[in-house]
Homo-oligomer: 252 residues x 4
């Protein structure tokens, strides 16, 4: 039995540091690496890619809207031709840096507002799918478990990996509880780790109302943007491994 752990990395920008990439690369099996549109400068991205290569961590393109000031978290009504070309540009840039770092881009995981939007918005989802197919149809798309995007992308011929979020509460319908709701974000590392173990073993998480809900996920997203987040990610990995669940990239 095995599952993937992924995290957002390479998000420093020039003089500004974000997260502890070195620590996270000792925990996760897949690194979603910023491509310069919401975060990441080329030299910092290259450094993270080299560290990922050295650790044997799989690399994905964390593509985003062009919005450094908003960290890619603001919805943007980007025209179809722009969105497609922007995604191709970002993947290409990361492919170039990855090659130099001795690794290659295996998957694409959209970031922030783009991630949330394409989970259910057909036109923008179509643009991201078209961009991936155009540059390399063997790239895997990482998508929110249970979102319409999963089927849209599969119907278009892409391989899709569904992911769960370690520190988020789920509704009885298997969707994420909105961050605006109380209890949406979980803070107890041990409880989170136990939930993820159950997810890996049974494909089930306990919903916010106490019921059990099926969540089909091949990857678990963990965060590394605070010391507490790193500790939680480490706990998730430890509990999984102690129970005999291998932490392993979906992209071989």
């Amino acid at each position: 039995m095995r599952i993937d752990l992924n995290s957002d990395l390479g998000e420093s920008l020039g003089a500004w540091t974000m997260g502890d990439d070195a620590a996270m690369l000792s925990i996760v099996s897949s690194a979603n690496v910023a491509c310069g549109f919401h975060a990441g400068d080329a030299a910092g991205i290259l450094q993270t890619l080299r560290a990922a290569a050295a650790r044997g961590v799989a690399v994905g393109a964390h593509v985003a809207y062009p919005d450094l000031a908003g960290f890619g978290r603001r919805n943007m009504d980007v025209a179809s031709a722009d969105l497609q070309a922007d995604v191709i540009y970002q993947i290409g840039a990361l492919q170039g840096l990855a090659k130099v770092a001795g690794t290659r881009v295996r998957y694409v995981k959209p970031h922030g507002a783009l991630y949330n939007t394409i989970a259910h918005d057909r036109p923008q989802a179509g643009d991201v799918i078209a961009a991936i197919r155009a540059i390399d149809p063997t790239l895997v798309l990482v998508a929110l478990a249970g979102a319409p995007l999963v089927n849209w992308a599969r119907e278009a011929g892409l391989t899709v990996v569904s992911e769960a979020f370690a520190d988020r509460a789920y509704t009885p319908e298997g969707t994420l509880v909105s961050r605006r709701e109380k209890g949406a974000v979980l803070h107890d590392a041990q409880a989170v780790a136990a939930r993820m173990l159950r997810l890996a073993r049974e494909g089930v998480v306990e919903a916010i109302d106490g019921s059990s809900v099926r969540v089909q996920a091949d990857s678990i997203c963990v965060h590394g943007d605070s010391p507490g987040a790193v500790a939680m990610a480490r706990e998730v990995r430890a509990v999984l491994e102690q129970a005999g669940v291998a932490v392993q990239a979906f992209a071989a």
Copy 2:
């Protein structure tokens, strides 16, 4: 007998148009395509790449300093790690877009201040050379004829194509007359075309003092940023072809 004609393309940005890419793609054999750092948005770049592919025009990466406001024309004291990674990032991004457009990047021609600086500045030249070698050592470097960069790059194992500038006056030493000097820029399309024909045939141009100077060039840079520039480029091509000099990309 043959020679290459190259021009800077893909330099529009969102709502701002620059140059007449369609016209220039019917004249030149090589297109130096902006990579987003001094000019070019991804969708516009992709459009130019598709047009270049349709025309059979060879594509090069017109890499630059990160300076949209200054159009890459301002010297910048970029740290070595940044410059190398920035160049790789730009080439990678263009490679991704080029693949989607059905073509591929054959060469690298630095733009503006970066072009001028690395012609003679050893450290920055070394960074650009290292970046090209790291991402793809078969990429050709286009450099100013007679500049120290030509040998530096060849010694590092790169293939270098030297270029002359159609509309620029030369010193008796074979270097460009500074734009600050009177007579540095030539405006008579027929005279320019005749000069370039002599260059292609004899490897010689008439210097600003009337002497003849040897300029070894495999490519001629023409501009397309005004209707007059397009007309001059067209005249250069016509005169070359009428004299039996084939206009053909150096990168097959």
Copy 3:
């Protein structure tokens, strides 16, 4: 009888030119000057401000979302604190440049997607209103005639000037026909000028269905982004003046 003519100016960016500011400043009475977020670099803005000052044209801040690549035409879900501060920042920057140019900022006209959004979106409208009130409550807000924004801003204590669009068709309800509809944009300069004369005299325009609709406007927006647009603007002014309608800034 008098009316104001306004136009978007200062929208060049570094090496990229947009519009013919000099020509438009001989036609309009109010200049909506870009503030660097959707267009405009500081030196170019300053040049336009100096020309406006020399011509006696009133100056307004053409504030926008931070989106050069999209020219401020893309909707962005900007957080309240960011939108307020971004608007203040832009107005302040233009005030500084205007002072140096020997003039001052009299009004604010949001640009593009921000203009369209706040016409009817209460939260973002509230942020723009709050920003204007905070930096200078005597600044006039230019808003779409008939939009909810007009009353929201007046209720908050701002002076509002409503504007009509010279080259746009109107619905029988007095709103703009969407650009996606056929006939939304008018191209006949004489017809446009005649419409604007009627608007100035009677407060009425002919709607797209042939009916007459009341449009209360103290200013008319004309464009200058093409030679045809400049010619149309010139015709509007000429027809107004020949009929005895003075073209005069609302902001004295």
Copy 4:
């Protein structure tokens, strides 16, 4: 007896945090606030300005080259018209935000590479001086003690405040030891505080060779970009005050 303490603040950018502005505002008497060109987003700048106003800390414009990726630390060969307008734009933007925050901009302290360049480069110094004079000739310029800029600005009619750097070694000639030299940066908070006390009292610092050198400074620059830096700044203030030297803004 009194002296000013200044520090660089407002340098966070969207999701990226830099420094501990709250802590530093309890230590310094003058805040050099980023203006968005090398660091700072409008909302974060406004927050820092409000905190400075609440603390009674004087505010200055920390103007810079347009270079977020390089944090304004890279030399840029900016044309005169651009540099002047860029400086005016930044001061204006900060004036607007400062007014909303209930304070106002009292001085200008150029940042990073611009600071170092204008200390001795006549053309760029002239541009910065011209920009300040154009927008508000009563703004004080903070400059490196002993640099040619001090006199150039005074000759142009500006009020200049010279500053020393708390954590930097000085040459026997009273200039800063280059950061590339060993011993250029001092790390012992108590020793630094003692040095600054001597500077405040006697106008003398001990140079790197052990000699005493006269440094005329009305302000001391302290850093806040790490917990150690904050502690050092606090120590400097404490030692000054214990010795009866009032820490007080030069700009009343």
